[in-house]
């Protein structure tokens, strides 16, 4: 049904819930040699990047900033000066790439390293609605703002990805998202469903009575 076609449909852009979020965080790298591990010394948390921010309409929840669509995007690899490899953090529900991925054609442009792309739950382990997707996107936006100034390495991307995974787990435990029972792989990776013994409405009958 919809869940099995969903991963296909997101490539076509037909699905109403677009689970691919492109975030312009406008991270600029001061000089390209600072962040990659050709050097011996380990970077500290010193600020190595500057970031220009647009004004965010703050209404309780951080709104994701609008992204201008780009045309004629081609898949490009990262330049030789940056190590020639991509920067990403991949876990089961969260994939973050330091690249621009076109939502329609899936062209993977890695030279645009100032953008972070989040692909949310490509295996459809959970049931997502527009509201829950937007909650995750706004949390992603907050995290990126919080990590502003950190060096652009896989380590920080993994930290961001882990924070989003913990947030998804929190949403699951609060009941705002649910497991997708029609998923191809149903292994309840964030905890098996439990009976809520602490719920007040549900009275367990005593066996002896």
């Amino acid at each position: 049904m919809a869940s099995s076609l969903s991963s296909m449909a997101s490539i076509m852009g037909l699905k109403p819930i677009n689970k691919q979020e492109m975030l312009i965080s406008k991270r600029r790298i001061n000089n390209g040699f600072q962040v990659f591990a050709q050097q011996v010394q380990e970077e500290t948390t010193s600020l190595q990047q500057e970031e220009e921010k647009e004004a965010t309409p703050v209404k309780g929840v951080t709104q994701p900033r609008p992204v201008e669509p780009q045309v004629n995007v081609e898949s490009k690899n990262m330049g030789r000066a940056y190590g020639g490899q991509w920067l990403s953090s991949t876990t089961r529900h969260v994939r973050i790439f330091a690249a621009y991925i076109d939502p329609e054609t899936c062209a993977f442009d890695q030279t645009q390293m100032d953008k972070l792309t989040l692909i949310l739950d490509p295996t459809d382990e959970f049931v997502w609605t527009k509201e829950t997707c937007n909650m995750v996107y706004s949390y992603f936006q907050e995290l990126v703002d919080h990590y502003e100034g950190a060096p652009l390495t896989e380590y920080t991307l993994r930290l961001i990805g882990s924070d989003i995974e913990h947030y998804i787990r929190k949403l699951l435990y609060e009941g705002q998202i649910q497991y997708n029972m029609n998923a191809r792989v149903l292994n309840f990776s964030m905890g098996k469903p439990r009976v809520g013994f602490s719920y007040n409405e549900y009275q367990i009958e005593d066996v002896n009575q």
Partner: protein
């Protein structure tokens, strides 16, 4: 009690401290980081041509970092080759030890591993960079005061 090598070093007025013998009867010496390179060359010339292993460990939280070198002599027709174990202690704030890569080549990857895990930087090592952890890792994992960050997949592997 002092072993033979220790007596020889004393005779040649090289500063060291004898740490006794371990359970296999291998004598252990402590050398200061500043003297280590010259003593390494002296030991190589003396005959220890095989660095069996180099390892490092964290002595105590807030204490020193130790770099251990296990040397032996490879030769024919010998039943029990001579062995010695050298420990070099480096302070935690700025742990720098001269590299003995140019004396024994096999120490290349092993010093990189000690650097990766404990942060001991070896001077004059030709390519000192991380070998086990990803290159962008922050922190020294095998130090006793290392706290691993709360990465998702470590916690929630069902």
């Amino acid at each position: 009690m002092q072993g033979n090598l220790s007596a020889w070093l004393v005779k040649h007025a090289l500063i060291h401290r004898s740490l006794g013998f371990d359970y296999q009867g291998i004598e252990t010496l402590q050398i200061k980081p500043g003297d280590w390179h010259s003593i390494a060359v002296i030991l190589y010339v003396y005959g220890y041509n095989y660095l069996r292993s180099q390892c490092a460990y964290d002595v105590a939280p807030g204490g020193l970092l130790a770099s251990v070198y296990h040397l032996t002599r490879i030769e024919y027709g010998v039943d029990q080759p001579e062995e010695v174990c050298i420990k070099v202690f480096a302070p935690r704030r700025d742990p720098r030890i001269p590299s003995v890569f140019w004396v024994w080549k096999s120490v290349d990857f092993q010093e990189r591993e000690s650097y990766d895990m404990l942060g001991i930087s070896y001077d004059n090592h030709p390519r000192l960079k991380r070998i086990l952890m990803p290159e962008s890792w922050i922190g020294w994992p095998l130090r006793k005061d290392y706290i691993a960050p709360n990465f998702y997949e470590i916690q929630d592997a069902h």
